[in-house]
């Protein structure tokens, strides 16, 4: 019997991905870092490390600490800032044989809008992901993504600056993620992605000091998968735009759990560190699963 090659392409707004597997922001650098280990052309896309308007040194060391089946990071958005990005990194992106999505972060809605505008007419950038887990300096450090109004405001302002597909990356550190997702969609999001890291902390009992120089950091990895999956499920029920699921996905089986509850695509973050081949193996795993179950379209996976 002949097996038909399943079609696993998906659409995120007007962006078509050849498969639903993306590498997550902050976990895959600017793509080149992994180019010797990963066949980038096999991926649905990659999401770049977060870009801010001004250069950021990031936090002091230590920035990383392991926890049970997870890790905390407090990189502090270290990046070269928008203008150096445009000069030094953008030219290299055209060599990347898959969709490149920029991830942006600002201290004010206007900063987001400025970055979005600048990145919007660049051939090598296929979509924008806006990270709303950033403190709003004018609101006493509350994250944009912890408030419906702030979320709406920043998304709405960015929306006016760009015709690129707009993905809003939600913070999980909230009481009701579905209402934040709705605010993002109302603001003009073409898709939402979640979850970003859970805020966590670890202490060193020998030194009596926090293990991270920044005291708190973001928890990622298998430990958070149950929380991520629950939130993705809640958001999929609440909105009608594509949802990109992430949080602790290590294997194709994990990714299937997210697709089952309604995610259109998945992001691979921490797994890259553990096994750089993870994203490729997940693409292959999804294909094999579909062949085995004689599915020809990805949405046949849903529960």
């Amino acid at each position: 019997m002949q097996t038909i090659e399943p079609d696993i392409s998906v659409n995120i707004g007007k962006l078509k991905l050849k498969n639903p597997v993306l590498c997550a922001s902050g976990c895959f650098g600017y793509g080149q870092e992994y180019a010797e280990l990963v066949d980038l052309s096999m991926l649905g896309g990659i999401i770049l490390k977060g870009i801010t308007l001004k250069e950021r040194h990031g936090n002091p060391m230590p920035r990383i600490v392991e926890t049970s089946a997870g890790m905390l990071n407090s990189v502090g958005l270290q990046n070269m800032g928008l203008s150096r990005f445009l000069r030094e990194k953008l030219p290299l992106l055209s060599n990347i044989p898959t969709n490149v999505i920029a991830n942006i972060c600002g201290e004010t809605p206007e900063e987001y809008a400025t970055i979005a505008k600048e990145l919007s007419n660049k051939d090598s950038i296929a979509a924008l992901e806006i990270n709303i887990s950033c403190p709003n300096v004018s609101h006493g450090g509350m994250l944009f993504g912890q408030d419906m109004m702030l979320t709406f405001e920043v998304v709405n302002l960015v929306r006016k600056q760009t015709s690129l597909p707009l993905i809003v990356k939600l913070s999980p550190n909230v009481t009701d993620i579905a209402s934040i997702a709705r605010a993002a969609v109302d603001g003009g999001a073409d898709a939402v992605s979640l979850i970003n890291t859970l805020l966590g902390m670890a202490m060193n009992i020998k030194t009596k000091k926090p293990r991270l120089a920044n005291i708190t950091g973001g928890l990622s990895g298998p430990a958070i998968k149950p929380v991520a999956l629950r939130m993705v499920w809640e958001v999929c029920k609440a909105i009608n735009v594509p949802v990109i699921g992430q949080g602790g996905i290590m294997t194709w089986e994990d990714s299937l759990e997210f697709l089952l509850v309604g995610a259109t695509a998945v992001c691979i973050g921490t797994a890259n560190f553990v096994n750089p081949k993870a994203s490729m193996e997940i693409v292959q795993g999804i294909k094999d699963y579909m062949k085995q179950h004689k599915m020809i379209e990805l949405k046949a996976i849903r529960m």
Partner: protein, 263 residues
């Protein structure tokens, strides 16, 4: 840089809690240079989750060797692997020692398991220059590879905190004594060991205007420069703040000692 499954060809307990593993990884060894490291996946159980970095201790045509000390869960599990077991490793990674062919005696300074990368370096350097190594350790059982260096014809001096072997003191004491009495100026220094030792080492090198390269450690996630988890504070006159955070895994682990901002 490649990811391979490497068989453990040999396993040796070189001292209490110290192990040497020889790995079948010719594709890594052919590109490896002293000071680089490999990133090892210790278990598929997510506990510990992340890979562990280990310096390349020896480069042979068949593969590479690592030398490690048990300090926690990951190294404990690694010490329980057996000959014939396979390890998922990535390497060679990082920016190793810059080796300049000059006539001067090279001085290697090791603190504890810091000897690990210095052995590969010594094997390389001795092909064209005289090499001395100064090894410091808490106590005699932590002084490792002594005979191996001697077998290469390398002069070894030892300092232990408790005086159980060599002088009572630390490796940098040996260095100061040597530099103070040495006729030749600006001897190149290569160091690896705990941060406080490396800091003193840098100061001594600065005092004697010796070029000094040191191998830093940092908690790592990716090992390939993607996560920005492993940085060191490096002087940068072009930056308004006069510093930048550079990645230990790709911009290092070996840095010029003068570049490092210790606070």
């Amino acid at each position: 840089m490649i990811q391979v499954t490497a068989k453990i060809l040999e396993k040796e307990e070189v001292a209490p809690d110290h192990y040497r593993l020889a790995l079948d990884a010719p594709l890594i060894s052919k590109d490896a240079s002293p000071g680089q490291f490999i990133h090892v996946n210790i278990t598929s159980q997510y506990m510990p989750l992340l890979r562990r970095p280990f310096s390349i201790h020896r480069i042979t045509p068949f593969g590479i060797e690592i030398l490690f000390r048990i300090v926690g869960t990951g190294t404990k599990l690694l010490s329980e692997k057996r000959q014939g077991d396979e390890l998922d490793i990535i390497g060679p990674l990082g920016h190793g020692f810059s080796i300049k062919n000059n006539a001067f005696t090279a001085i290697l300074v090791a603190g504890g398991v810091g000897v690990a990368p210095l052995f590969a370096l010594a094997e390389r350097l001795r092909q064209f220059t005289e090499v001395r190594i100064l090894i410091g350790s808490k106590t005699k059982t932590g002084v490792i590879c002594l005979e191996k260096f001697e077998a290469l014809g390398i002069d070894v001096q030892v300092a232990t905190d408790d005086g159980s072997l060599g002088i009572k003191g630390v490796a940098t004491d040996l260095l100061e004594d040597f530099l103070a009495t040495s006729a030749s100026p600006q001897l190149p220094i290569y160091g690896c060991g705990p941060m406080p030792m490396l800091r003193i080492l840098s100061e001594i090198a600065h005092l004697y205007s010796s070029p000094c390269q040191i191998s830093l450690e940092a908690n790592m996630a990716c090992g390939v420069g993607a996560c920005l988890g492993c940085v060191a504070k490096i002087a940068n006159p072009h930056s308004p703040s006069h510093f930048e955070y550079k990645r230990v895994c790709v911009d290092g682990p070996v840095f010029d000692a003068r570049e490092i901002l210790w606070r």
